[in-house]
């Protein structure tokens, strides 16, 4: 008898609880980032399944940002020459997603104010800039240094690294770099004679210089070296970028590894800040109430309690002794007998 009331009351209580929108608080780790995109010429190479690297970057970054949790902030910058330029400081990605996506879509190689692509210098500048803004750095590049680095290699990084990632784009096979005329029309590809192949003649010469053709200790200490090369072709220089990343406490992975991999790597290489979010329990509570109500309806619509079953027995078999045991029940139900059925044809009434 009591359960017939308590269980529906439980359903009512569950529905009320669900309406209150209770939730369990949880800590969520968020990472902000200053995303710096390389827009130099080599990013026009079409080796991302026929797509140009820059097109791929725009699309992949947009998808990645769209999948990030609300509350994380993204700033956007572009890199060319030897520095980056920040388009906007980090903004919250959910509120300003359309602006972020719009600016990302507007990234173009034509924004480059110079044609050089000094990756390591640009990376160091970007790291400083990210540290100023107080966010980790995500540097998206193919690692193609143009002109090539001096023999001594890239300068070491001296400052404090804010942490972050280098994301590599580009294929593994060298591919030709599209060339454009003054008005931005494509006019073929870069030829070997269009670019500088040898490392810049700055700093110490290589150790094997004396074996090179044309070597002269005073007049030509580097030897002849600009004779041939593959600098007019571009591929993802993964090993170089990995070295750069290691020196600067950054992680390296390919942009093509996907958003989940980037998020995992960011957790590892970049400082996070955590916010408290509450995960609503309402659907769970509501579902429990719903199941209970359906079960009650299925089970309870003609539930006989023990009393009634005995009563049933009594009616069919024996009158004796029953009333004396159940006199109280009889008295009560006689009063509540009033509200009953209405259909003439149906001799089964409904009692309230």
């Amino acid at each position: 008898m009591r359960w017939r009331v308590v269980l529906p009351a439980t359903v009512t209580g569950l529905a009320l609880l669900a309406a209150l929108g209770l939730g369990i608080p949880r800590k969520q780790h968020l990472t902000d980032a200053l995303v710096v995109v390389d827009i130099t010429r080599s990013m026009n190479v079409r080796d991302m399944q026929g797509e140009s690297r820059l097109d791929y970057v725009r699309r992949a970054l947009r998808d990645w940002i769209a999948a990030r949790p609300c509350g994380s902030r993204i700033g956007l910058a572009l890199f060319t020459e030897r520095r980056s330029v920040t388009l906007f400081e980090p903004v919250e990605i959910c509120a300003d997603f359309s602006s972020v996506a719009g600016s990302l879509a507007g990234l173009d190689w034509r924004m480059a104010w110079e044609g050089d692509s000094m990756i390591s210098k640009g990376l160091d500048y970007s790291l400083d800039r990210a540290r100023e803004l107080g966010v980790p750095l995500i540097f998206v590049t193919d690692g193609h240094e143009a002109p090539p680095l001096p023999y001594a290699g890239p300068a070491g990084f001296a400052g404090d690294s804010p942490g972050g990632l280098i994301l590599g784009v580009g294929g593994d096979a060298p591919a030709p770099i599209p060339k454009f005329d003054d008005l931005g029309r494509e006019v073929g590809f870069y030829d070997p004679e269009d670019v500088q192949h040898a490392p810049a003649r700055i700093g110490a010469p290589p150790s094997d210089a004396s074996e090179r053709p044309g070597y002269h200790p005073r007049n030509n200490p580097y030897g002849e070296s600009d004779l041939e090369g593959n600098e007019h072709l571009s591929e993802l220089r993964q090993v170089y970028l990995q070295d750069l990343a290691e020196d600067r406490e950054l992680g390296f992975l390919r942009l093509a590894d996907g958003g989940a991999a980037i998020d995992r790597a960011l957790l590892q290489y970049a400082p996070t800040h955590s916010v408290r979010v509450t995960r609503s329990l309402s659907p769970l509570i509501g579902a429990a109430g719903l199941l209970l109500l359906i079960a009650l309806w299925l089970a309870g619509h003609r539930g006989f309690t023990r009393t009634e079953r005995r009563f049933h027995d009594y009616r069919t078999h024996s009158h004796r002794g029953f009333l004396r045991r159940h006199i109280g029940v009889v008295g009560k139900s006689a009063r509540s007998y009033a509200a009953t059925g209405r259909r003439d044809s149906d001799n089964r009434g409904r009692a309230l």
Binding site: G102, E114, L298, H301, H319, A351
Partner: protein, 337 residues
């Protein structure tokens, strides 16, 4: 637009028909109640309980499926303008108005311009604003948006030290191109903030003339004049060199006047003058504009749960008032003594 977090839960909706077939309260085998008069209260209960059950189950299903009103933008009529702010990023902008590297007390031209632009934008909540910058190449910084936080972040980011040269022509072309995103209702204005100019190549001049006719923008040039630089409004003394190469600012001014659009130049030699000029632009560019306002997502599940709680409450009440049927037996004919 309404949407659901878990739309597949809605497949459970047919369960709401359960109360129409099965009774909530018990039924008993009793003889012929139909001979009793039909009373209104009984009928109310008889019909009300299945309805309460229907509401309880269906609104619980709806609640669990998580209905919400999609956020988005609603059209909104405000006072403002479609504005593209074109900012000079050449390295001379980092100097003070006196043409020096700013020391402690001084403000660089770019810092003054940024500060005043921020105030200007903060005071115009209905503007749609896009930001572009130019140096040797034009940079689209932020496409037209109504989001104040994005605009603020974009202007703040211009604090980075400047790039190299000044190519005004292509910058202007980009700013006018960005106007394609503007709303059809409302005025359209480009505010160019620069401290110098350069010769505009003939093909860019042609492109600019065409764009200006096509886009019909109002153009404002806020010329941050460095101390000692010549004014853009006068030709100088007779006999002084006055060619596009020697005085590019003056000739840019003349070119912009010939574009056939509303154009006004302001010359500012200090932060106060910049402030005055910006205020004046603000006055001229306040017209009705049809823009949009963002509305956040709104959850609706709590309404469903409240409704379900009310209906379940009625059901509970019915069960609480329910009494088992126990007919009064006829008294036995004989009593045991």
């Amino acid at each position: 637009m309404m949407a659901f977090f878990h739309p597949y839960v809605l497949f459970a909706l047919p369960f709401a028909l359960l109360p129409l077939g099965l009774r909530w309260l018990r039924s008993f085998d009793v003889p012929r109640l139909g001979s009793r008069p039909v009373d209104a209260r009984s009928r109310l209960i008889d019909r009300g309980l299945p309805i309460a059950g229907f509401i309880a189950i269906s609104s619980l299903v709806l609640g669990v499926s998580g209905p919400y009103l999609k956020g988005g933008s609603v059209p909104y009529r405000g006072q403002g303008s479609n504005l593209v702010v074109l900012i000079d990023r050449s390295s001379s902008m980092d100097d003070s108005f006196a043409g020096r590297t700013p020391d402690g007390g001084e403000e660089s031209k770019s810092a003054a311009a940024r500060r005043i632009l921020q105030d200007f934008i903060a005071g115009r909540p209905d503007d749609r604003i896009g930001i572009a910058a130019f140096s040797t190449a034009p940079l689209q910084v932020l496409p037209m948006t109504t989001s104040r936080s994005a605009i603020r972040a974009a202007i703040d980011a211009q604090a980075e030290r400047g790039l190299s040269q000044t190519d005004v022509g292509r910058g202007l072309a980009l700013a006018m191109e960005m106007m394609r995103d503007s709303t059809t209702v409302g005025s359209r204005a480009v505010v160019m903030v620069s401290d110098g100019a350069a010769v505009i190549a003939p093909d860019v001049q042609k492109q600019l003339r065409e764009l200006a006719l096509e886009q019909q923008v109002n153009l404002y040039w806020l010329y941050l004049r460095t101390e000692g630089a010549k004014s853009i409004f006068d030709d100088g003394a007779p006999g002084e060199a006055n060619t596009a190469q020697t005085r590019p600012e003056r000739h840019l001014h003349l070119f912009l006047q010939r574009l056939g659009i509303t154009y006004r130049a302001f010359e500012a030699e200090g932060p106060e003058a910049v402030q005055q000029a910006i205020d004046e632009i603000g006055k001229m560019e306040t017209r009705p504009i049809l823009t949009e306002r963002m509305i956040p997502r709104r959850d609706l599940d709590w309404i469903c749960y409240l409704l379900a709680a009310a209906a379940a409450g009625i059901l509970t009440l019915a069960r609480w008032l329910e009494r088992p049927y126990a007919p009064v037996m006829p008294a036995p004919l004989m009593r045991r003594s």
